[in-house]
Each structure stands twice: as C-alpha cells, then as structure tokens.
Symmetry: C2
Subunit: 191 residues, 2 copies
C-alpha cells in the first residue's frame, strides 16, 4: 500500500538482507545497518520500531508468496493436484531464496516472525503439513510430511549444496519430497 513511498525503507531492507546473509541476524547490529546506510541508529528506528520488525519485513515477501501458493492450492479440486502444486511451488520458492532460507532457518528471530505470521491468518506452518497429507492419512504419513518440509527447507539452504545450480537442486529436492510422501514422480523429461 501507500504506493511508492518507500525509498530509504527499501534501501534499508536491502542493506539488512545483505548484512544478514553475511553476519547472520544475531550478528548484525542496528549500528552496522545504520553505518552501511550512512545514517544513525535512531534513523533506523524511525522506519522500524524494533529489530524483529526488520527481520520480519525482510522475510515477508517469501512468506507471502508461500501463503499465496497455499491459497491457490486450496482452490484445486483433486487432492493429488493440490499436493503437486504445493511441492513444486515450495521447492521453487526455496531454491530461489536459498541464502535467505539458510540465514533464517538458524535464527530464533524468524521463528517468532513466522509464528505470528501474516495478516493474523491461521499460521502458514500449520497449513503446510495439513495440505501435504491426505485427509485419511496415518501417523507415519504425517511424520513423513514434517520430515519432508523441514528437510527440504534446511537442505535447500545448506552450504554443502550451495554450489549446485538451481535447476538440478530443484529437481532433486522435488524428487526427495515425492519419494518421502510416497507419490509417483512426474515430468521426468530431462536427464
């Protein structure tokens, strides 16, 4: 909203994300952000009332995208189509934001941000697993879904896999999730 009002605010978020990826959220002080922007700590506080608000704002676009994926999946009729859509969307989202995911997965601040996530709706982190398991799923399937979600997020940001290019990582992660959920693998056109 408010159209093109954010200039310094946008610069601030870009700078913060850059510093976060280098030093981590905890390792980045408001002073560092202010110095990098050429302003004072108090100037930063004008745009954001708290440090948590900054990390929240940095992560928001990705979370909003995830929420949109879930919303659209919910409109699909067949459950298998829903699962396919969510898997593809989630994997793509993670791969596209690798560094961001890597930084935020190992930081308690982002966990807080996700908990009271977007627009007060029901939490994204509870909608996700619920969407991946069929309505009549047994306990094992629920655990498998949690392993798949946690694993794909953390592995996607893993330093050991940073060298792999997006396309290959996307395919491998998708395969892993589908195997875990006991679903047939689709579109095996390449390789």
């Amino acid at each position: 909203m408010t159209a093109t009002k954010g200039d310094t605010r946008t610069r601030l978020l870009d700078t913060a994300l850059g510093l976060f990826t280098v030093h981590g959220v905890e390792g980045t002080s408001l002073q560092m952000i202010a110095d990098a922007l050429g302003v004072t700590k108090a100037a930063v506080y004008y745009h954001f009332k708290t440090k948590d608000e900054i990390t929240e704002a940095v992560a928001e676009p990705a979370l909003r995208e995830l929420s949109a994926i879930l919303d659209h999946a919910a409109t699909l009729k067949r459950h298998s189509a829903q699962v396919d859509y969510v898997i593809d969307g989630l994997v793509d989202l993670i791969v596209r934001n690798r560094m961001l995911v890597a930084v935020f997965c190992s930081d308690p601040g982002i966990a807080r941000a996700v908990e009271r996530s977007l627009h007060g709706e029901e939490n994204v982190m509870t909608r996700l697993p619920a969407m991946l398991v069929p309505p009549d799923a047994d306990e094992g399937a629920v655990v498998a879904a949690h392993v798949a979600l946690a694993g794909v997020a953390l592995a996607g940001g893993s330093p050991a896999l940073m060298a792999m290019d997006d396309e290959r990582l996307r395919r491998h992660l998708g395969d892993a999730v589908r195997r875990l959920l006991g679903r047939p693998r689709r579109r095996e056109n390449l390789s």
Copy 2:
C-alpha cells in the same frame, strides 16, 4: 575426567538447559542463569569464559554420542550395515533429546559450536552425510541424504510432534529416512 569435581558446574548446565528450552538460547541471559542459581553473573563467568562455551557444554554430550555412533559405524564392514547402524543410532539420539534438538536447531550459537565441534576432529556434520550415501552415489542421493538428516532432526524437535510417544516417533522417523535413502525397511515386527 577429574572425577566428581563438578557440582556447581553440573547444576549450572542443568539450569542453563532448562532456561534454554523455555526462553531459547538467545533469550536466556547470563543474569537469568546466575539468578536461578542464586549466584552472581561473575560466578557463572568463573566456570565458563563465555556464553558460547555454556551452550557448547550443554550440547556436548549429545554431540559426543553422535560422534561415537559414527566411529563405531566406521568399523563395520558392509556399507549397508553402516547405514543401518547410523540411522538407528541417530534417530534414537534425536528422539531421546527432543527438546534439546528443538532448541538448538533454531539457534546460531549451536551452529558455531557444532562447526568447531569436538576435539578438533573432522566435523561431525560433514561425516554424517558422507556415511549415509554409498561411495558411488549420484547427485540425487546426496541431496536426499541431506534432506533426510535435516528433516529428521528438525521434525524430531517439532512442537507438532511433541505429543507422540518415543517408540512411535522413533519408528516413523526411521521409516522416513529409509524411504528417502531408498533402503528396504527392516524389523517390521511390531504393528
């Protein structure tokens, strides 16, 4: 070593773990630990030179156990036997330390501790995935192993699965990892 020397030191670690599980590592100050023990901040500082040293010491027993599992697995001849042993041991270790895993997975301090992990040996976090994939594994298998490890650790500490009893969680997590690695499931005697 040094036999039964640690009284306050042990109490301190117990207290710290308790506070960590409630407020998180970052949310627990040395002051809180000192107050809970009825001593001064400086007294805490006598036993540990830094806060990182405390989190490291709290996590050390579990990391040492994990290292022992890898050491013993390395002595087994068949690769499949190694994988089976590591999976069972890792899953059991995680389930037994659920809260600890949950707390430490979302904290950058523990990541630092794990990095320069135990006794200067080669890192546990690099030995683990290497042990799970066969020597001639393709790229997809490597990614799957990372997903399995990250997923089982994070899912094991997930609040959504806290209600599940140890035995069932252990079985489901083991099944998930084996399915992800494309291995046949063993000992399906119960259920």
